[in-house]
Amino acid sequence: MTFVAKPKVHHPKLPLNEIGLTRRDYEGPVSTLCAGCGHDSVSAAIIAACAELSLPPHRFAKVSGIGCSSKTPSYFLSKSHGFNSVHGRMPSVATGANLANRDLYCIGVSGDGDSASIGLGQFAHIVRRRINMLYIVDNNGTYGLTKGQFSATNDKGSTSKKGAPNLYEPIDLVSMALQIGASFVGRSFSGDKKQLVPLIKAALMHKGFAFLDVISPCVAFNNHNGSTKSYDYVRDHSGSVVVTDYHLPHEEITADYAPGTTEDVQMPDGSTLRLSKLDDSFDPHDRVSALTYVQRRQAEGEVVTGLLYVDPEASDCHEVMGTVKRPLNEFEAAELCPGNDVLAGINESFR
């Protein structure tokens, strides 16, 4: 396997965004995942979201663990640094990266094996720490690179490609994230670009920890009849609670594209998140009822998608810790080192 760069030339009529870039400027080299892999659709949605938001494509820190999903950060935003780290430990690397430079947009991509099994502990703790980042789980319910073992998010009774049923209860990362205190929680489907792109945009603009669980079918090992993470199953069983649309600060909000009640949520940067509720009983600002709703629908075999919870007033770890506004990685000796006179005083306190 080698690195295949995409040709830099692009169609002259490709639209430019506000900083004069086309979508191609947000891409990466050609993916080496299987053709039709849901993960590539997630990467494409990230590319679309970043381009539409006109974010500078080099100002991201992309981090991942190990697995098919964790390979994807090399397939988008090639002008940014990426770090494919250790299996299940992306949250700690993301934490360090965010502490070092709070000005970069931090995107962590993980999988269900990476986050719900080997990395479940780190997943829980990064939620608690409120790292300001977008944390995406490409959730396919299977271990792809090791050829099709069940993962911890696989539904009980769902079958493997060879027909054997999964005997164990699934871990629902959305419920966990809600319970532990994530300030932005959503779920989507890799095949639903219309829902996914606005969710990613809103998550990127959210200050605090934004979690997106994206059901992303594995075409090689988990897309057969009997699987509850196949394209067909998810299309048939997903129920959207809220249709999300994200608007930049100066963008005019014209039409509401879905029926039902709508609500505009002001984001910290002045932008607007427009929510169109499909079910009046659902309140995306109430953590407890969101959790109950997700679990109740899950018990009925339905996959709830959309924006499930958002706290637009949330704080991030830097606010909690009271760190300086300037990135910590910019400080030099003159600003960090107290000097020898102070040290002489410290010596004196040890005499």
Binding site: T2, S85, V86, A100, V324
Partner: protein, 608 residues
């Protein structure tokens, strides 16, 4: 009776959690302030309250700071350990105990002096509260010891005043308790004893500080801005001291904001992951841990080695394996740290012997990690980290700049035709790196634990993989030139003695003892791994080398023979691994025995 001054070992036997630490600490500090060299050792259980704990003070006019076998004065305050405490006294030693209740006949020894002080009875009328009575008991024996050993009383009372500054209500009761002890000793006991303290000037400008605090200050002065850690004895106080001083010294004057971030992580895996993530993103970062933490961090350490990311780890070693003796000292993580992780990995180790070196190496490790783009482990231990050690004062050169290593900024990237993260441009095995977000078009690369070519592109090419691994070997050779070199003292002897870390503490005394037997040795104190060429030259130029270390399996010897291709037969191991720090007597006895068994010539024999 002849009187000896400033030369004894006193041991306090207490119950953990009974408040003895502060009184015992004041005892040591008082002697220090009288100019007398002291070394303190806290021998404590893995327990919060109730189990036995000992505090030992080595008092030595000659400045010997290592442990010496045998106790001269035992302050036996724990009934549970009476038997072993009485037994540990040297013949002619002094037993200080609470004789409010008579000492059991079975515990008495005819070859020691008993000094009974009715501490409980004395305090009964003074303090109605039983808990207070327990606490002040410690201060009362301190007062009695002042009279018995001739310690300047004002030095102690002065210390009480500083210690309880801000809690003024506690000052007078403490001084009263001290007075009760002193008055009793002066009235009823033979004062002073033939073992006495006398003001001298052997301290100079030295300070008394624990290695963990010194190491934390080193990290602070060295510019660490991110600290991630998980509590584990005996390293916890590194992170706590960093937090304490950072809260004083790293606050932005105008905004009150912190120029640092500390995360108490969920485990050691996360702690090292945070350190590596921060360093990848250009912030100086460190963690502190002990043996079990090193085991957990191993996978990440391999990633940092292979992906070439700086990281600084303080490993305050304790007795293993497994949970081992978590509150006892050892030098037993050497191998697991040097080769931590799977695959071909090697890590830079710094081996401090004093708090001053904990400070210096703490700051140097940050420079070295950045320069070498690799993890650097500062291998301290419980003996050094958690005990107050006499140390040269800490100093900082105000002209010193941080060495951030080979990092390209946007301007340099502009001038570069093509950036290759893993190109060995300078031939030292170290490539140039960029921090994320530096340049809109150039310098971005993908960091991974998988193999890649010089331009950071994924590859499984055997040639490219080998080329990369060989470059890492070149980098290792560069490291050997940059790390602190060994300290060598030679006087043309045929045999040498090699040691490192806290094994250096008893060495001057052990060498003097051996000298009296006609055994004279050249010395080398190794201060880092990879070993510099001076280490191999020293070994090559001596007929035999004693390698002294505090572990069972001779880990330093293994490193030396493996890395240097040396004949193991020429390296004679002197080992101690009981969890107390190695004593001068142990070193002397094992070396002497080797000389006897192998009929090696001694200088005295040649003379006669």
């Amino acid at each position: 009776m002849t009187v000896s001054y400033n030369d004894f070992v006193i041991r306090f036997a207490n119950v953990n959690g009974s408040g003895s630490a502060s009184a015992n600490g004041m005892f040591a500090k008082a002697l220090f302030r009288m100019g007398v060299p002291v070394a303190t050792r806290n021998i404590f259980p893995s327990n919060i309250q109730g189990l036995p704990t000992w505090f030992e003070v080595r008092v030595s006019e000659k400045g010997y700071l290592g442990r010496r076998e045998g106790v001269d004065i035992m302050v036996a305050m724990n009934a549970e350990t009476y038997a072993e405490d009485v037994a540990s006294l040297k013949p002619g030693g002094f037993l200080v105990y609470d004789n409010s209740k008579p000492l059991a006949e079975s515990l008495r020894r005819s070859d020691i002096h008993e000094i009974g002080i009715p501490l409980s009875s004395l305090l009964l009328p003074e303090f109605s509260d039983i808990k207070q009575r327990g606490l002040f008991k410690n201060v009362t024996y301190l007062g009695a010891l002042a009279a018995l050993l001739n310690i300047e009383f004002e030095v102690i009372t002065g210390m009480v005043a500083t210690q309880y500054k801000g809690k003024d209500a506690l000052i007078q009761p403490n001084i009263n308790a001290l007075e009760i002890g002193r008055r009793y000793a002066e009235e009823y006991l033979q004062c002073p004893l033939p073992l006495q303290v006398k003001r001298t000037d052997q301290i100079g400008d030295r300070i008394m500080i624990d290695g963990n605090t010194a190491g934390a200050l080193g990290a602070l002065y060295g510019g660490a801005t991110v600290c991630a850690w998980y509590p584990i004895t005996p390293s916890t106080s590194v992170a706590e001291a960093f937090e304490k001083y950072a809260n004083q010294l790293r606050i932005d004057k105008d905004s009150g904001e912190r120029k640092f971030a500390i995360v108490q992580a969920e485990d050691e895996l996360a702690a090292i992951g945070i350190v590596i993530g921060a360093a990848w993103n250009g912030a100086r970062s460190f963690t502190a841990t002990s043996g079990p933490g090193i085991s957990l961090m191993s996978e990440f350490l391999g990633l940092a080695y292979f992906a070439e990311i700086p990281a600084v780890i303080f490993d305050v070693q304790r007795s293993g394996p497994s949970t081992g003796m978590p509150t006892r000292t050892q030098q037993s993580d050497l191998l697991s740290a040097a080769y931590a992780s799977h695959g071909d990995t090697k890590h830079v180790l710094l081996l401090p012997a004093t708090p001053r070196e904990c400070f210096d190496f703490g700051a140097d490790a940050l420079d070295l990690a950045d320069r070498l783009q690799t993890p650097v482990l500062v291998m301290s231990d419980l003996e050094l980290g958690m005990n107050d050690n006499l140390s040269a004062p800490l100093t900082w050169d105000d002209d010193r700049q941080y060495d951030r290593g080979k990092v390209l900024d946007a301007k340099t990237l502009d001038e570069l035709p093509r950036f290759g993260r893993y190109l060995d441009v300078d031939g030292d095995g170290i490539g140039y790196r960029t921090y994320p977000g530096t340049h809109p078009e150039k310098g971005a690369f993908f960091t991974r634990g998988t193999s890649r070519d010089e331009y950071a592109a994924y590859t499984e090419s055997p040639e490219v993989y080998e080329r990369n691994m060989e470059r890492l070997t070149r980098k290792w050779e560069t490291a050997a030139q940059l790390v602190p070199s060994a300290e060598i003292e030679t006087s043309g002897q045929r045999a040498g003695i090699l040691f490192y870390g806290t094994t250096a503490l008893p060495m001057p005394e052990a060498l003097d003892m051996l000298g009296e037997e006609g055994i004279h040795l050249d010395t080398i104190r190794v201060r880092a791994f990879p070993f510099g060429k001076e280490v191999y030259e020293f070994i090559a130029s001596h007929d035999l080398i004693f390698v002294v270390e505090q572990n069972r399996d001779a880990q330093m010897k293994m490193l030396l023979t493996t890395e240097g291709g040396l004949d193991p037969a020429r390296l004679i191991s002197i080992l101690y691994f009981g969890g107390l720090s190695i004593s001068a007597d142990t070193i002397q006895a094992q070396v002497s025995e080797y000389y006897t068994e192998n009929k090696l010539p001694r200088l005295t024999e040649v003379k006669s």
